[in-house]
Symmetry: C2
Subunit: 507 residues, 2 copies
C-alpha cells in the first residue's frame, strides 16, 4: 500500500506546477541560482570536512571522517550506514530511492586521502586555505563572509580538496539545490564511499562479493578523478589499474666510509641506478620483455573519440614546464592507454645538509606500474621480476640473510605491494549516452569522452556486480592530487554541483 | 737567562734516576701499568667529552667542545689558545716545549663530528654507551666502577668515538702516563685541533697561511683515521683528497599524478638513474672520460709496501657481507690508490609508507669523489660536468628558471660542494722510520706502512708549511665512522695511548 501511495505522490510531483521547475533546463537554472546564493554554506561544509585529517594509515582519523560523512548524508535524508570492511576503514553506504524510478546508479567515491609531507606544503594540509592567483604565485585570501561571492579561479588548498572529498560534497549540494528547485532525483541512488582507496582497496573485493545483493544497480558512476586538461566537462569509460612494487638493492651490511672502501665495496645506489636504467630506453619506452604484450589496443571507436578531443599537450607542457614529453609526439590520451612504469621514489644514504661520506647499506626505488585493459597485476609483476633476474640479480621477496649477502653479489628484494586490474567500458553503452546528455545540459558544452582515465580506481573489484561503469569527474586537472599543495578550483566544484544535479534528473 | 735555566733543569731530568724509567722499554712498561690502573678515569674523560654534541653545523656546540678541549689540554700544562678561523669554528692550538729538543711535531686532529640521524642509531649519538659482543649482536653493559677493568673488545658507541675525539684523549692520556713514569716528551709538541674538518675545512688554508710562523715544525702527525683492517699498528703516508657534488635532475614543476601523466611526462628519478648508470661500468670502473688520467701511479717502493701488508680482503668481505668487490680481484690498498666515485645519497619522491603515486618534481644524487695524488678537485669536477654534457644534458650550477625548464628536455643542476687535493709523502722519509720504530716499540708488532689512507684529510691545506706528513691512526677499522652507531674498540684506544707515549719519547 505504502509503495503505491509513494508512487502516486511521486507522479504528482513530476507534474508541472507553480513551485516546481517544470523542465530540466529550468530546474538547472534554479539549481545554479541556489548554489550561487548558498556558496558560502556549501564551501563551509567542504572546509569543515577537509579540516579532518584523513590519511588512510590512521584508522581513528578515518573513523571520524566516516562519522562526519554519515551525518552529512543523513541531513539529506539519505538512509546511511557505516559498513565495516574487515580492515577498520569502513564503507559509508547510503540509499535514496526515487519512487517509480527504473534506473539505479551506484555512485562511487572515497573519503580517505594520500599521505602528506607537511614540510613540502605551503600551508598545513588539514587547515584549508583559500588562494587566488596562478600556479607558483598564489596569494592566500580570507574566506568571504556569508553573503560573499567566490570567484571560479580561486582555489582551496588541502589534502583531499580534489581527491576525493569535494565530489561527495558536490553530490550532496546537488541534492539540496535540486530540492530547492522543487525536484527530487528521478533515479534511485546508492552511494558507496570507500575509506581505503589510497591504500589500494585491500578489502573491497571481498566486501563487494559479500554485499552483492544490496549493491544491485544498473550503472556504476565514479565520482573521482579530474576533468580533461582542456577544462571541458568529461566522462570517462575506464580507469587504469595499478601495481606497486619496491626494489631494494643491498650494499655492505653497515654504512661504510667511502674513503676507506669506495672503489672496492660495491655501491648499492649506483647499482640500483644501473638496474633501473635497464627498464626504460632514452625515449621513455619500457624495455621489460613483454611489458606491452597484454594491453588491449584501442578500438576504432575509442581512437575516434580521442581524435575528437581538443589536444592539450602544448598547454600541459607550458603549465608543468615539460620540454620533451615521452612517446615521440603521440597524444597524452593514447599514452595513458598503454601501461606505464613510474619511479615514484628513490632513497639511499643522505643528500644535502645531511649528506655523509658513506657507501650506503641499501638503496630503494618505489615504483608504480599503471595497468590497462588486458594487463594482470600479478603477471606484470612477474615480468618485471624476470627482467631483473635476466640482468644477473638474485631476486628475493624478503630481507636477505647475512649469509646470502656474503654469497650473492647482486642481491635485490623485489616486493609486490598492492595491485588491481584496469576496467574499460565500451563507449557505445546506451546509458552513457544519457549521462553525456545530462552533463552537456548542465554545462552547455560538448563533453569529452575519454576511453580511459590515466588514474587508477578500484573498479575492477566491482566485477562481481557485472555492471558497466562510467566516470563523472568534476575537479580541475592541475590539482596536485597525491602531492603537496593539493587544491580544488572552485569553478570546477560549482560546475560539479550542476552536473550531478543534472545527472540526478536523468532526462 | 730563564731559557738557560729551563734547559739545565730539563737536562737533569733526562739523566737516569731512581724515580725515572731509564730506557724506553722500561718507560713504556710503566705507561702501560699506569693506563691499566687508571683506565676508568681515562675512559670517563672520553665519555664526558663525547657527551657534548659536536655536529659541525651547530657553531655553539662546536664552541663548547673547543672550551672543554682547551681545559683538558691546560690540565696537562699545555699552553693552549682558541684561535678563530673566520668561520666560527676555531682551532684549538697548544704548545708543549721539550727543553733541548731539536725536533718539533705538529699533531693534527679534529674535534667536530659528522651529522647524525638519531633514528638510525641503536642509542643516542651523544649519550655514549658501552657494549660487548660482535657486530650485529651488541649487548649494552654498564661502565665498570672506578676500580673496574675494561676488556679490549668492548666498545664505546657515540658520534666521534673514533672520528676523531678518542685520538686526542689518547694523546693527553699518553702525556699523563709518561709523566707518571717520570718522563717528559723528548720532542717539541704543537697540537693543532680543528673544528670544521667534517665540513671540508673551508677556512683552513687561509688560517695556515696566516699562522705559518707559529706552526713551524719538522713533521706533521695526523692523529685521525683507522688502523689497517688487519688490526696491526699502522702508519700512513698520505690521505686521499675529496670533491663532493650534487646532481639534481628536473621533472615537471609540480609533482604530477603518475596515472594521469605517467608514460608521457618524463620522470626525473628514472632519468637520474640513466645518467648515473653512464658513470660506472658493471665492474665498478668509472667511465667518465679522463677520470683516471691524472692519478700518479704507485712507485715500486709503495707497491712493495703494499705487498708486505697481510691481505684483508676475505676478512673485510666476511665482516661487511660483500660477495664481489669491485676492482676485479685487485687489493683494497691498490684500489684506494685510485680516485673513486661514490653515490652517497639518492632522493626523489617517497618510498615505503610515505610513497605516493607521483612523478616527482626532482631527483637528486649526492656524490663524493675521492682524489689521489695528481688529481685536482676542480679539474675532476669539470671532467664529470663534461661527461654529463656529453650525455645530452644542459648543465646549470643553479636552479633552472621556469622558461629554461620549458626549453630544455634534459636539464640538470650540477653543484660542486667542498673539495681539496690528496697528499702523499714518500715512504723513504727518515723521520718516518723513527716513527715506525716508536710504534713498533709500543706494540711489539710489525707496523703496516700504508702509502695512502683511503680517507681524506685536509693535509693539502698544510702545503704552505712545506712539511712532510705521516699519519698515526689508532682506532678500529670497523668503527662506523660517519654513519650511525659509530664506535671505538677500547683495545685500540688503550694501545693508542702506548703508541703516542712512545712517539713522544722519539727514540
Amino acid at each position: 500500500m505504502k509503495r503505491v501511495w509513494l508512487t502516486m505522490v511521486a507522479a504528482a510531483l513530476l507534474l508541472p506546477a507553480g513551485a516546481m521547475a517544470a523542465d530540466p533546463a529550468a530546474a538547472l537554472a534554479e539549481v545554479r541560482a541556489f548554489r550561487e546564493a548558498h556558496a558560502a554554506e556549501i564551501v563551509a561544509e567542504l572546509v569543515e570536512w577537509l579540516s579532518l585529517p584523513n590519511v588512510a594509515t590512521n584508522v581513528e582519523d578515518i573513523e571520524r571522517n566516516a562519522e562526519m560523512l554519515k551525518a552529512m548524508m543523513e541531513r539529506r535524508g539519505i538512509r546511511t550506514e557505516i559498513l565495516p570492511t574487515g580492515g577498520g576503514r569502513p564503507v559509508v553506504y547510503g540509499e535514496l530511492a526515487a519512487p517509480g524510478a527504473t534506473t539505479t546508479l551506484l555512485i562511487y567515491g572515497h573519503y580517505d586521502g594520500q599521505s602528506v609531507d607537511p614540510g613540502q606544503w605551503h600551508s598545513q594540509p588539514f587547515e584549508p586555505v583559500l588562494r587566488r592567483g596562478v600556479a607558483g604565485e598564489w596569494t592566500t585570501i580570507p574566506f568571504p563572509g556569508a553573503s560573499g561571492k567566490f570567484e571560479d579561479d580561486w582555489r582551496i588548498f588541502a589534502r583531499s580538496a580534489s581527491d576525493d572529498k569535494s565530489p561527495m560534497v558536490a553530490l550532496l549540494a546537488a541534492l539540496d539545490a535540486l530540492r530547492a528547485a522543487g525536484r527530487e532525483p528521478r533515479v534511485n541512488l546508492k552511494f558507496f564511499f570507500e575509506g581505503e582507496e589510497e591504500q589500494g582497496s585491500p578489502h573491497l573485493e571481498e566486501f563487494i562479493e559479500r554485499e552483492k545483493e544490496r549493491l544491485a544497480a544498473d550503472l556504476i558512476i565514479t565520482a573521482d578523478g579530474p576533468v580533461h586538461q582542456s577544462g571541458r566537462p568529461t566522462i570517462f569509460f575506464g580507469n587504469r589499474g595499478i601495481m606497486a612494487l619496491e626494489i631494494t638493492v643491498y650494499g655492505p651490511t653497515e654504512n661504510l666510509h667511502s674513503g676507506h672502501y669506495g672503489n672496492w665495496a660495491p655501491n648499492p645506489a649506483m647499482r640500483l641506478a644501473q638496474l633501473l636504467a635497464t627498464m626504460k630506453d632514452a625515449g621513455g619506452r619500457v624495455t621489460v620483455a613483454g611489458f606491452y604484450d597484454d594491453a588491449v589496443p584501442l578500438t576504432e571507436e575509442e581512437k575516434k573519440a580521442i581524435a575528437a578531443i581538443p589536444p592539450v599537450e602544448a598547454r600541459v607542457q607550458e603549465r608543468f614546464g615539460i620540454a620533451e614529453p615521452e612517446g615521440g609526439g603521440r597524444r597524452l590520451e593514447e599514452m595513458i592507454a598503454l601501461p606505464s612504469l613510474n619511479v615514484r621514489g628513490l632513497r639511499s644514504g643522505y643528500v644535502g645538509a645531511e649528506a655523509t661520506t658513506i657507501i650506503p647499506r641499501t638503496a630503494t626505488a618505489a615504483i608504480d606500474v599503471r595497468l590497462v585493459k588486458g594487463n594482470d597485476h600479478q603477471r606484470m609483476f612477474e615480468k618485471i621480476a624476470a627482467h631483473i633476474r635476466r640482468q644477473g640479480w638474485t631476486v628475493l621477496d624478503r630481507e636477505p640473510t647475512a649469509e646470502e649477502r656474503r654469497q650473492h653479489g647482486r642481491l635485490v628484494k623485489v616486493e609486490k605491494l598492492d595491485g588491481y586490474n584496469a576496467v574499460r567500458t565500451p563507449l557505445g553503452l546506451p546509458m552513457a549516452a544519457a549521462l553525456a546528455r545530462a552533463v552537456e545540459r548542465a554545462t552547455g558544452g560538448a563533453v569529452v569522452r575519454l576511453p580511459t582515465l590515466g588514474g587508477s580506481g578500484p573498479l575492477h573489484y566491482f566485477d562481481a556486480l557485472g555492471l558497466p561503469s562510467v566516470g563523472v569527474p568534476i575537479v580541475n586537472y592541475d590539482n596536485n592530487q597525491h602531492g603537496p599543495d593539493e587544491n580544488l578550483r572552485l569553478g570546477n566544484f560549482f560546475q560539479g554541483i550542476d552536473i550531478f544535479a543534472s545527472m540526478f534528473l536523468w532526462e
